[in-house]
């Protein structure tokens, strides 16, 4: 149905954006939940440093993040080499790398939102669960996790929305390869480089806005659902 409205090139960019966004958000979710929980519930030496590190991609110029990814995960990078030799896949200059870049860039927003959800859960409820015979892991699964589910979804969608718009780190890390790494924003940028490309660019702009607004609205909906959940009204 959408193909009636979009050109094959636009479809390709949209599909690639969704794919890298979904995969990127999915791989950042487990560490995101763990780090959000640790930041919300534990006090330890280096907490401030961890918090700072998580927020780095938010304040660093995206080009710097992209370049650091290239150094670490490129063909000759230590981690890139490791992935290539032991896991048999490369990240540089393909969609997997684009997914990684979008995961890193969306991570701070994802962690912030999920941390907020954890902080809204009263630790007194968890203490009550302990006295009822539930161990720490049991409490997390039976009390904490169900109570943060809406916040978890809100954070995931926020991270996803950020991942969709990822440009700087992606183009630096995996370049601009149509069909492989040319996501919506990069396709938009390419369209602008071509004379008379404004109409093309405008279509990408509208598509991007629709996607971003949709993801943001959904995220906000679940953030409110989180508040109702804590009060017990949902």
């Amino acid at each position: 149905m959408i193909d009636a409205w979009l050109t094959p090139g636009e479809m390709q960019a949209l599909w690639l954006s969704l794919k890298t966004g979904v995969v990127g958000t999915a791989i950042s979710l487990p560490p995101g939940i763990a780090i959000a929980w640790v930041l919300a519930r534990r006090n330890f030496v280096g907490k401030l440093a961890l918090d700072g590190l998580v927020h780095m991609p938010l304040v660093l110029p995206p080009v710097v993040t992209g370049y650091l990814l290239l150094i670490l995960f490129g063909h000759r990078g230590p981690l890139g080499h490791f992935f290539e030799t032991y896991l048999g896949f490369t990240l540089a200059f393909n969609w997997k790398g684009a997914a990684l870049a979008s995961a890193v860039m969306g991570f701070p927003l994802l962690v912030r939102a999920i941390r907020l959800a954890f902080e809204s859960v009263d630790p007194k409820l968890e203490a009550a669960a302990r006295t009822l015979g539930a161990g720490p892991m049991d409490v997390f699964v039976s009390i904490t996790l169900p109570l943060v589910t809406p916040g978890l979804i809100a954070g995931t969608l926020l991270g996803f929305a950020r991942a969709l718009g990822e440009f700087g780190a992606t183009i630096t890390f995996v370049a601009n390869i149509p069909g492989e790494t040319q996501t919506l924003p990069i396709a938009l940028y390419s369209a602008l480089q071509v004379p008379e490309g404004e109409i093309h660019a405008l279509r990408f702009v509208i598509l991007s806005i629709l996607l971003a607004v949709g993801a943001l609205a959904a995220s906000e909906f679940f953030a409110r659902a989180q508040q109702r959940r804590i009060r017990g009204a949902a």
Partner: protein, 376 residues
């Protein structure tokens, strides 16, 4: 099988240090003290939610913590029921699911059945509701039921009534009393309200400034003026001394709808109580509800007039004085207090040793029905 609870813990914090040693057997041990006395900290240490710096807590042969032997049992393996000040029901679960939370985790331990608990606490109509649809009193009943269904060997109750208004308190009190009669496990009941302790506890432990200030039989401990001053605040400002008395129902005056209590040989009449002759109950007489006369009053609406002897006069603020009175035969004398103005004491020339009549205006009841009874 299960012995009593023995606690001996210490904790030094910058602002507050705790050093508490006591034992508690079956029945209700009331823990009372002003806020900041260490009541909650003590309960949390027993439950394993807080760790004392040093000390030992054991229930029978089970050692929960022993810092010298580096033993610490996780809270989920202590099987201690904890009813908190706020109900702390899980908001994402229904009442039934909240009740089952502990029950599903108690393993093969036997305890009260679901039916028994639902019946005892009157939870039948609430089962399908969500916690946010419950009143404060209902939520607290569910919380008690949830704790009981986890088959606890010890029940801790941390001011379970303090978040409730007076009506809800009255509504939940009979359930607590039923609980007391039904269970044979030790219960620690924390409160800063003397009336609650008088009504529910068998023994009392007074905490003050992180130390045990007094412990023993409820009436014996709470009738001590120094203990009352500790609980009510150092200067006792605004609060008057009160005496707790174990009374016995002597007879019912059906014609006047009155019940007569035998109080150490003297008789007190109050509005009829639905209890058989011979039953015992605790009553509390407040100093501000007792007036004095130097001659036996004859034409008076107050019918409860008891002969007494002045023991001591103690100033209570600039304008008032507390008069300690001995009532009843000398071998079973009860000490009552009357709070009167200095001027009245002067004009009546009150002095220790003098014979007077105590006019009792009202009696606070500590039993199953209503919070106070009007005297006749």
């Amino acid at each position: 099988m299960s012995g009593g609870l023995s606690v001996s813990i210490a904790r030094r914090a910058e602002a507050f240090s705790l050093d508490v040693t006591f034992e508690a057997g079956s029945g209700v041990t009331g823990i009372i003290g002003p806020s900041g006395a260490g009541k909650t900290m003590t309960l949390e240490a027993i439950a394993g939610l807080a760790r004392p710096e040093s000390g030992r807590i054991a229930l029978g042969d089970d050692i929960f913590i022993d810092t010298t032997r580096r033993i610490f049992t996780a809270p989920e393996r202590r099987r201690i029921g904890y009813v908190f000040q706020e109900a702390r029901l899980f908001p994402h679960l229904s009442v039934a699911e909240n009740l089952d939370y502990g029950a599903r985790r108690r393993g093969s331990e036997t305890g009260m059945s679901r039916v028994e608990v639902i019946d005892l606490l009157g939870l039948d109509a609430l089962l399908d509701r969500r916690p946010h649809r419950l009143s404060g009193g209902e939520a607290q009943r569910v919380a008690i039921g949830r704790a009981l269904l986890a088959a606890p060997r010890l029940l801790l109750m941390d001011e379970p009534l303090s978040s409730l208004d007076i009506r809800r308190r009255r509504e939940i009190m009979p359930f607590l009393e039923a609980l007391h009669r039904r269970l044979d496990l030790p219960i620690l009941f924390v409160s800063h309200n003397i009336d609650e302790i008088v009504r529910l506890a068998d023994r009392v432990l007074v905490l003050h400034g992180g130390r045990v200030a007094a412990t023993g039989d409820v009436a014996a401990v709470l009738n001590r003026l120094d203990v009352q001053a500790l609980i009510l605040g150092e200067d006792g400002s605004g609060a008057d001394p009160a005496t707790i008395i174990e009374a016995r129902i002597a007879r019912h005056d059906e014609a006047h709808h009155l019940t007569e209590l035998d109080v150490g040989g003297a008789t007190l009449a109050l509005s009829q109580l639905p209890l058989p002759v011979g039953s015992k109950l605790r009553i509390r007489l407040h100093a501000r509800d007792i007036a004095l006369a130097t001659e036996r009053p004859t034409a008076l609406s107050i019918q409860n007039v008891i002969e007494a002897k002045i023991v001591e006069l103690k100033p209570a603020g600039p304008a008032q004085i507390d008069v300690a009175l001995a009532v009843g035969s000398s071998d079973a004398a009860i000490t009552l207090f009357a709070r009167i103005t200095n001027r009245a004491a002067e004009r009546l020339a009150l002095a220790p040793g003098r014979q007077v009549w105590a006019l009792i205006k009202s009696v606070a009841l500590a039993s199953d029905f209503g919070d106070s009874g009007r005297t006749a």
